[in-house]
């Protein structure tokens, strides 16, 4: 009820703003939006291809980085250091900067045998940035498994790797699925950043249409498309979190 009042009130203020008719024409032209939907969807297919490949790679790379960072012992110090430097650097620098540096920088080296297309390097940049974030999520999961679990596994004669593989990681990964999906929502939205180095995807498509027609409604179309693909995922995350809480409340840790 109160939501209706708040949003109704805000809507009333907007619609009665002095320049509303102009804004309505240049931002909420429903006919233009409807007509652009097929092209926007075509652009979106590039985003989807980008973030699905990136997500698959992130899952694997982040896990490897997290495991390397949690292996004790002086022998592994150089590897731990490398993994730490990687996560620090890729989280410190804004994603758009990585996309520029890799997307324009690497192809201009003119090296033989490495891909030159912008899509590839945009994919690499997004994957590396998000793998750095997700590796921290995994690491929190690994740390949340009580050391007594590892002790129990090792006492049975399992090696350090076997204990990690069969006892620690399965429990850790299960616990971090919600925050991990949360990062994937961020990744899916950030896939539009690759338009800045010339990859034609949904945002770039809207941009082209906007400059051709001097109308911003296409961006509202982009917003609607992302709402449609992201909100269900956000609901899924909430549902998983709630389920996890119920299981814990019931005394289980499964």
């Amino acid at each position: 009820m109160s939501a209706v009042v708040v949003f109704g009130g805000l809507g009333w203020v907007v619609v009665n703003a002095p320049n509303w008719p102009d804004v309505q024409r240049s931002f909420f032209d429903t006919e233009r939006i409807a007509a652009a939907v097929p092209d926007l969807i075509r652009g979106l297919s590039t985003n989807i291809r980008l973030f699905l490949i990136a997500e698959a790679l992130v899952l694997v790379i982040a896990l490897v980085v997290a495991v390397v960072r949690s292996v004790p012992g002086p022998v592994f110090f150089p590897f731990r250091l490398m993994a730490t430097v990687y996560t620090d650097v890729f989280r410190a620098v804004p994603g758009i900067v990585w996309i520029y540096l890799l997307g324009f920088g690497v192809p201009s080296l003119g090296l033989e045998g490495i891909p030159n297309d912008q899509f590839f390097w945009a994919l690499v940049a997004l994957t590396l940035v998000y793998a750095a974030y997700v590796s921290e999520v995994y690491r929190a999961g690994i740390d949340s498994v009580h050391p007594s679990q590892d002790a129990a596994a090792r006492s049975l004669g399992l090696s350090r790797w076997q204990s990690l593989r069969h006892v620690v990681l399965p429990q850790a990964v299960r616990r971090v699925i919600p925050p991990l999906l949360n990062d994937f929502i961020g990744l899916q939205k950030d896939s539009v950043l690759v338009s800045f180095i010339g990859v034609v995807e949904i945002f770039r498509t809207a941009q082209i249409k906007q400059s051709a027609n001097f109308n911003f409604s296409y961006y509202v179309g982009v917003a609607l498309v992302f709402i449609v693909i992201t909100v269900p995922m956000a609901r899924l995350v909430d549902w998983l979190v709630a389920r996890e809480r119920r299981v814990r409340a019931a005394g289980g840790v499964r």
Binding site: S148, Q149, A151, A152, A153, R154, S155, L156, G157, L158, S159, Q162, H166, V167, P170, Q171, R174, A250, G251, G252, V253, R254
Partner: protein, 248 residues
């Protein structure tokens, strides 16, 4: 013939806290030794050191003639021969009872799944848990969980079983079922070192009782003598406190 377990001059400190200050202990094959002593006397730490979960600072541990504390020993191979059961069960919550029991035989001994499961089922039947094979640990009572933990250790056919206050985390009415399992193992000739607060049980099951105090074996002897006529004043003090608490 070499002893099942021989410990010489074992020392262990956590930072500046010296927990074990020169433990000497020998356990013969098929012998059941109970460790008693106040909380913090080093019983649990001693068991964890024998299993090499805790690295030791000084001393030697010899299992059937093999010095396991020698440098460059493969600790994974050693641990297969020494089972340990913890106070807090430490079952793997994401696995069924059957998988908990068969994980180590399958992954460490490379037993086939079929064979490992047949052996596990046999053990579960022997201790009255066959109907729980597909359950997950959170569906079991504490007593059942601890029995599964013992079976999980037995599945590796250890030469030596270490029990670390295995009934301390249980509700009183669940203690008996776990003690019954240990009785049966003792009757079957399993070599065991048992840290316990159950003095009545120690007296009944132990071939020998060791009283740990301030990080050393203060006194050891057959249970009847140690519980009724201890020679050390500190042992007497400890037992008096236990009696006053109504635990003996």
């Amino acid at each position: 013939m070499s002893a099942a377990l021989e410990i010489v001059g074992l020392e262990k400190a956590f930072g500046r806290l010296e927990v074990l200050r020169g433990i000497d202990l020998t356990v013969a094959e098929h012998e059941v030794v109970c460790l008693i002593g106040a909380s913090g006397s080093g019983k649990s730490t001693l068991l964890r050191c024998i299993n090499l979960i805790e690295p030791i600072d000084a001393g030697r541990i010899v299992i059937e003639g093999d010095e396991i504390t020698a440098p460059a020993v493969d600790v994974d191979r050693i641990r297969r021969r020494i089972g340990i059961v913890f106070q807090s069960f430490n079952l793997f919550p994401h696995m069924s009872v059957l998988d908990n029991v068969t994980l180590a035989p399958r992954k460490v001994l490379r037993t086939t799944r079929a064979l490992a499961e047949a052996e596990a089922t046999h053990l579960l039947e022997r201790f009255g848990l066959a109907d729980k094979r597909v359950e997950f640990p959170d569906r079991l009572s504490g007593g059942q969980q601890q029995r599964v933990a013992i079976i999980r250790a037995l599945a590796m056919r250890p030469d030596l079983l270490l029990l670390d206050e295995v009934t301390s985390a249980l509700d009183p009415e669940l203690v008996a079922e776990v003690l019954d399992v240990i009785r049966e193992l003792a009757a079957g000739g399993m070599t065991m070192v048992i840290a316990t607060h159950e003095m009545g049980f120690a007296r009944e099951i132990a071939d020998r009782v060791c009283f740990l105090d301030a990080g050393v074996v203060c006194e050891e002897g057959p249970p009847d003598r140690l519980f009724t006529d201890p020679s050390q004043p500190r042992t007497r003090q400890f037992l008096d406190r236990i009696i006053k608490a109504g635990r003996l």
